[in-house]
Each structure stands twice: as C-alpha cells, then as structure tokens.
Amino acid sequence: MSKLIYLDNAATTSVKPEVFEAMKPYYLENYSNPSSVYSFAGEAKKAMEDARKVIADSLGAAATEIYFTGGGSESDNWVLKGVAEAYQSKGKHIITSKIEHHAILHTCEYLEKHGYEVTYLDVDENGLVTPEEVEKAIRPDTILISIMFANNEIGTIEPIAEIGKVAHEHGVLFHTDAVQAYAHVPINVQEMNIDMLSASGHKFHGPKGIGFLYMSNKVKIGPLIHGGSQERSRRAGTHNVPGIVGMAKAAELAHANMDQTIAKETALRDHLIERLEKEIPYCRLNGDRVKRLPNNVNFCFRFIEGESLLILLDQNGICASSGSACTSGSLDPSHVLLAIGLPHEIAHGSLRLTLSEDNTMEEMDFVADQAKKIVERLRSMSPLYDD
C-alpha cells in the first residue's frame, strides 16, 4: 500500500500538529491539578478557563454553560438520564428520532426499562425529521426533545432551529447531539433555540477522551458522575487539562477557517458524488443532497456487500466504513439506512466516505476509480447480480 487515503473522519480524525503542541506543556510541565490552590496550578486553571471561553464563544454561549466531559457518549448519557431524573415530576416522555446515534438510542432504551416513554420519530427517505412531526409528538408530559444536529452515517443536517422553536413554544427542553456537526458547520445556540448540545473532541481534529456538554443556565440537572466539585459540582473527576486545551485549540482552528474548510470539503464531496453516481450503475446516494454535512458521502451499491468492499478499498490504501451488518459484531445492518427505507440487502452494500480538509481532488479521483473497479468485481461474484 502506497499512501493512505483516510476517508473515515466521521469515525475519528487525526489530531492537528498545532493541537498536539498546545497539549504538550500540560502533560510535561504544567501538569498540575487545576483545582489546587498553589500558584503552580494557576496556569493549568487559566488554560482550562480560556478553553471554556473559546468553546462558549464558538456557540454563542456563556462560559458557565460549558461542562467538560469524557466524550460525546458521556454527554449524551448525561443529558438523557439527567433530564429524565430532574424533570420526572413534570413527566416521563421523551421525543427523539430513529436515526440517532446509539449513545442516544441505547440510553433511551435504558430509560424505557425505567418507566420512561420514548417516541422515536420516523424520518423521510433523506433522513429528515420535520418540525411538524416533532410538534405532533409533544404531549403535556414531554420533558425532552433530543434530535441530532447531523447524522453520522448519511450526513443529513436536521432543521435544528425550527425544531428548537417548536420545543420552546411548548416549553420543552431541547437537546441536540452535535457530535458530527460541531466545529464543522456554524452553530449558535441562541439563534437555534438549543438548550443542550453534545460534542466530542476527536471528531474535529482534537484529542479522544474529551468532549463537552453545553447546557443553558436555565437547565438544572444532577451529575452523571458524582464525586468531587469539579465543573460546578456537576461532573466529578480530575480535569483532563491537556484534553481540554487540545479540544479548545481544535475548536478555535476549525472556527477560524470554517468557511474555507466548508468550501473545500463541499467541492471534494460533490466531485466524488458526481463521479460515483455517473460511473457506477445501480447506486444510490444516501442522505439529503443539500442539507448535508460538507464532508459526508454515503452510497449504496446494489448486489454487493459492504465488508468485502471495505477490504478491497483497504487493500488500495483507502480507509472507509460501511453500514453493513458484516462489519459490526451485531449482524444488524445500520438502523439509519433501515430508517430511511432501504431493504436489508441494499443497506448491506453501503459505503461511507467522510472527508477532511486534508484530502485532495486527486484522492477523490483515485477513490472513484477504485470503487468502480471493486464494485464491478464484487458484482461479478454476486449471486444477486445478473449482468
């Protein structure tokens, strides 16, 4: 394998060298616990509070509304369980969608076992949730609406501001899992009526094992992780200062260059989509064509299976992913692809390519060339395909 073409940025991203450099001193020199009282801790504490400010500013939030967590999954679990517990006197009904990440869906299932009721909204064939459907689902005992900002598989961007508006008109709290969207597309929690928002550092060239929850000051929930008085007694555990600093650096870089990055990724994305659509028969672009993350390409190729496709791409140095059951331990094909109405065997042959600004047009062309050959080869082996 010559050069690696990494097209799995929705799974995780590389840490930018600037991010790594920003973290470094907090490992080796200013390693102190920022909660300590001696002056040696001052620098770590300042770095942490500066980081909080950077993230708050990027969302139009106040610094006191940012809580550092161990990642997107923790943020999602915290919101759902925290709101469920704190607002149960108002009701036990939660609204979400069928295409949320498992961090939301499995937590909802957990809550269902504990006496909560969850409405899982259908999506249309492009993966869109409509504000009207959300509104119809609201009941007097609805305490939370949680709809993802952008889907991690098919890249569809939901009408968040409109859903938030509906939520607020009915006095219901609104959370969005923005793990795939934060630092990729502009977000303003005020304008978009967002009360809570989850994000994860490693999805935007920051480090793994760190994330945050934006939570409006009006929301009052208890901790998921009890213990020390960190994060205003709402999230215990010694602060991961290097992680926090790295995540903020990544957020800062992303926001400083967001327009260019979006423009560049969109051009790459659209070129790849165009070539695949034109050159491979029996294929289907999954996700909304317009309301779409700038870095997401997701196709189904009929008559073939995803894992085989991935192996052959891998042999050509291309890192990609698939909603195929065969790549997951669970044997179930992607719940997202099923929710947008694909039958099992078509969902099986899906390919997700998620770009970053580091990719090039040449890479897109190489990937299109390879994908074309590989799909042909696998189809020639397929009992479902009659040439």
């Binding site: 299976e305 085989s308 192996i311 891998d314 094909p333 099986h348 082996m381 397929s382 009992p383």
Partner: protein
Amino acid sequence: MNYSEKVMDHFNNPRNVGEIENASGVGTVGNAKCGDIMRIYLDIDEDTKIVKDCKFKTFGCGAAVATSSMATELVKGKTIYEALEVTNKAVMEALDGLPPVKVHCSLLAEEAIHAALWDYAEKHHITIEGLKKPKTDISDED
C-alpha cells in the same frame, strides 16, 4: 479485519467463482441474520458420484467469500458422500480459523454444499445418507 493470511488469500484470489450451466446440483442459502447469500454449483459424475467441478457466487463479507472459495476447493474431486464431511469446521480449519463473530459465515458454506447435494439427490431420486433437507435453502425465492 482480523483475518488469517489464508482467508485473505482466498478472498483476494477466490477459486472457482462463477456458475456451471446445467449443473447437477445448485444450492442457494442465506443467513437470515446478516443477510448474506451464497450459491454453490456442483458438476457430478453420474457413475462415480465424484464432484468434477464446483463453482460459487457469494454476496457477503470477506469470510463468506473466503469460505465459499475454500469449500469449493475442498469439495472438488470428492464423492458426494465424502463431500458431506466438508463441514464448516473443516472449512475453518483449512483457512487457519476465523474471528469468533465470523463463524456463522462458514456455516453458510456448509449449508450451501448441503443444499446443492440435496438438489442433486432430489433430481436423481437418490438419498445420500446423513444429508438432511437444508433449512435455509432459498433458491426458490431467487
């Protein structure tokens, strides 16, 4: 992918891909859970009952392709009675093992051979001792 070298070899250079026209027996099976589908074609000598040729088509994961390929290799040259002993275990062993989540894929290969043998036996009105009607034969649906 935690596949052995042998698996990768059979995945990359699958033996006996294709179809046999007017095959003596054809079996198509699918795994209801993962949705994968495998079809095996047998060309059997009427007199000796030896499998002269064997081909496959597979819609499935890397392990499914590799086990199909290996299964056809193992079956070729054997009598239909010996072919019954090409179990999923035998196929896995010949491939130097499979990751635990991929064991079911090798079952598909065993079942496809059985389904093809059953098809042969039915067409020729014989019974092959030890061969049961494959549960998962989905040829009809095709």
